[in-house]
Symmetry: C2
Subunit: 117 residues, 2 copies
DNA sequence: TGTGGATACATAGAGCTAATATGTATAATA
DNA sequence: TATTATACATATTAGCTCTATGTATCCACA
């Protein structure tokens, strides 16, 4: 009952950008927040998220600053840039196009999962 | 203003399965239908769709039979199998998980795209 | 009749990329 | 003292996807 890797890949960027639009955060916290928001369905690994964050940084959508937790552990805080906000808006538009297209099919009008297969 | 390739990849399978859940169809018609449903935003190439159909066939989600158009041109008609219906229901569940997660963020509560960047 | 565009399916291979495993380090807890 | 949680990072490989290319027929039109 997990989420397919294509869908995980497609949702990673909008999720990260969207989370950061609420304020700065850092890798480990983002992973925990996604797990919580999805009620345990989306469990990202760190080895998957950090390359995403680096890619977003290279693209100019986020910027990072080193900081510290209360306990003294180092953290890299990411925040959204203006370009990141524009990108987030475009990602949202893209998802609306796709979900609208799926709504044009019986995708969201399905019956329950057939039994006894 | 196009759709990112990750999102295209993630939506291809549910879209095809969902279209076929309305009745049998064939490659070329599916491409046209997706373009129409998306109001021109999703323009699949044949070189992209046929491998997807073959993959779905190998997975047992669809089955194909050769037929002919009224004009006599050969066509390969695909129809959904029982397993395909189950898979479609699961795809739908996955999309609901992800869109619900995105709804938990400001993703769907954004303002208009910032001007003058 | 022949030319171009639409219809219709198919696949090889290059080019990309993402998941896994692995590495480093510190704090908290048992 | 050992283990778990926190926290970041990346190399490599295994996999996949997109592009280009190929085949073939029908129809409209010049």
């Amino acid at each position: 009952m997990s989420i397919g890797k294509d869908l995980v890949a497609a949702s990673a960027t909008p999720l990260v950008l969207s989370i950061l639009s609420e304020g700065e955060s850092y890798g480990y916290a983002i992973i925990k927040q996604v797990e919580e928001l999805s009620e345990g369905e989306l469990k990202w690994t760190d080895g998957m998220l950090y390359p995403v964050l680096h890619r977003l940084e290279r693209a100019g959508y986020v910027e990072a600053t080193w900081g510290k937790s209360e306990s003294g552990r180092r953290r890299k805080y990411y925040h959204l840039t203006k370009r990141g906000k524009v990108e987030l808006a475009d990602q949202r538009r893209q998802w609306e196009v796709v979900t609208a297209t799926l709504r044009g099919t019986p995708f969201h009008r399905l019956e329950a999962i057939p039994q006894g297969i």
